[in-house]
């Protein structure tokens, strides 16, 4: 469904992603692991059409079409959503407005405000609060809810467990698996090895801009040693 082919991405002259390739199939959870500064977020931004980075070569194919050169809103319209690093909620918008800015409150097709509140009842209690008045867990739920309002077929999640309490990390893992059950594909950047092992069907490891390892969730769970070696933990 998504094929990233030999991407070369630069921040100015800094060559951050040096020929990385990956595939995400329909309905699959894929984890992208790697230490800090290895190019994971850059790769996610490149897929979403966000600039910087600047793409100098490589292709991002989605359902047969090349996404390179499209603007983020055009990529979003093709049902790819992002839950970015740091959540990036809007301090000026209420919880409800985060959802209705993506899709009108009157819409009845696909994901609606009601359906998001059904998944995250906590958000319904906070619907008048602004983006900067929420707890860490609520922020993550809202960032996921905002992404869902696009009715995505693929969600790019950049460090969904970052900065969350252990109970909330577990909750995010459950959400990821719930969403997978609805047929959504998820490409997830993770620092947390255990979250990746719990949720991922397949795992890639990125090191200084190159893919150095690809494995399945099952194989990694059976033997963590090769993964740990690459991650240096």
């Amino acid at each position: 469904m998504l094929q990233v082919e030999d991407i070369q991405a630069y921040y100015g002259e800094a060559h951050i992603v040096q020929g990385a390739s990956l595939t995400v199939n329909a309905g699959e959870v894929v984890a992208l692991l790697g230490r800090n500064g290895m190019g994971k977020t850059t790769l996610i931004r490149a897929i979403m059409g966000m600039a910087p980075p600047q793409l100098r070569s490589g292709r991002v194919r989605w359902q047969g079409q090349d996404l390179v050169g499209l603007k983020p809103h055009e990529i979003a319209a093709r049902r790819i959503a992002i839950v970015p690093q740091g959540r990036r909620l809007f301090p000026s918008l209420t919880v409800v407005e985060h959802l209705t800015m993506v899709k009108s409150a009157r819409a009845t097709e696909g994901w609606t405000v009601e359906r998001v509140f059904g998944l995250f009842p906590r958000l319904a209690e906070r619907k008048g609060h602004r983006g900067n008045q929420l707890s860490g867990g609520e922020r993550q739920m809202l960032a996921i809810g905002r992404a869902l309002m696009l009715d995505p077929e693929l969600i790019l999640m950049d460090e969904p467990s970052e900065g969350l309490a252990p109970a909330m990390v577990q909750r995010v893992e459950e959400i990821v698996l719930d969403l997978k059950r609805t047929g959504l594909a998820i490409l997830m950047v993770e620092q947390n090895l255990y979250s990746a092992l719990t949720t991922a069907d397949r795992i890639y490891v990125l090191e200084t801009g190159r893919m150095v390892m690809e494995t399945t969730g099952a194989a990694a769970n059976a033997d963590e040693a090769p993964l740990r070696r690459h991650l240096g933990i």
């Binding site: 979403m48 966000m50 603007k71 983020p72 809103h73 979003a76 319209a77 959503a81 992002i82 970015p84 990036r88 809007f90 301090p91 000026s92 918008l93 407005e97 209705t100 800015m101 993506v102 009108s104 983006g131 905002r146 309002m149 696009l150």
Partner: protein, 283 residues
């Protein structure tokens, strides 16, 4: 300060608010310090003057000014600003150049004489207010200022477009990644800002008169309003306008030779403690 002077300050504040609200919307969302905003104000005044003189309708004059200046804004955005997107210094210099060109074009068309937009008969004369008699037209300006504030507030806080504008001030890239064509929101906001400058031109042109260099005066006041209020903040612009309007009147009454200092002194002092203005936020 007597109540006549107080009302003078408030009506001037209402005019400043109309002009500066457009300025702050564009500054906050598009990050463009549009130095042609004053020229757009003057152009709106001239268009309003010609239309009102020809048709005898002040209302048509306001409408023509808003539409005409918005049309100029569209040409400005699509024809020039799009080539320097995201380059703040170039945008500023470009808008300054546009201001000079617009002023010269206005000089060619309307000449160097001073004009006053004819007001409708309904607004002739004065009415008793507080302990004084006050010109009806200036009260109308005060009412328009309040009306524009209410309408903009409703637009920003109770419509989807308003939510997109606020979100765009916070984080335009994330708005785009949520499937919204932010460029369209930018253009609409820019046209709205231009239309407000045009509206201000007609409102002001009926009591401050229109003449070459009137644009620079209103631009300087608008800058002060936006800097005091915080860029992109509607409520900030309202507070800033009232402050500048009242300070300006006080300055003229008490220290006529220091009238500008009375505005910019407090502004500088305020910036020392709140560099982003009263309601400004770091982005």
């Amino acid at each position: 300060m007597n109540s006549f002077q107080l009302l003078n300050g408030l009506t001037f504040a209402a005019l400043l608010f109309v002009v500066a609200s457009g300025f702050t919307l564009v500054f906050g969302l598009l990050r463009i310090v549009n130095l042609s905003h004053g020229a757009l104000y003057l152009l709106g005044g001239y268009i309003g003057y010609s239309t009102a003189t020809m048709t005898g309708s002040f209302g048509l004059g306001m409408l023509a000014a808003m539409l005409g200046v918005a049309a100029v804004g569209l040409v400005l955005d699509q024809g020039l600003l799009r080539f320097v997107r995201g380059q703040e210094l170039r945008q500023v210099l470009l808008s300054l150049g546009v201001a000079l060109v617009l002023n010269d074009v206005a000089l060619v068309i309307w000449g160097g004489d001073s004009f006053t937009v004819p007001t409708p008969e309904l607004l002739f004369g004065a009415v008793p207010v507080l302990d004084t008699f006050y010109p009806k037209y200036r009260l109308f300006v005060l009412g328009m200022g309040v009306l524009v504030f209410v309408l903009l507030w409703l637009l920003l806080n109770h419509t989807r477009l308003g939510a997109l504008i606020r979100a765009g001030v916070d984080d335009p890239e994330m708005v785009e990644a949520s499937g919204v064509n932010i460029r369209r929101v930018f253009v609409l906001t820019f046209l709205l800002g231009c239309a407000l400058a045009g509206l201000g031109g007609v409102m002001g042109g009926a009591f401050l008169a229109l003449y070459p260099s009137a644009d620079a005066e209103i631009l300087v006041f608008s800058l002060a309003v936006v800097v005091i209020g915080g860029r992109g903040s509607l409520v900030g612009a309202a507070i800033g306008a009232v402050m500048v309007g009242l300070l300006n009147t006080m300055g003229q009454v008490w220290f006529p030779e220091l009238a500008y200092f009375v505005i910019f002194g407090p502004m500088a002092a305020l910036l020392a403690f709140r560099p982003l203005g009263l309601l400004g936020r770091a982005v």
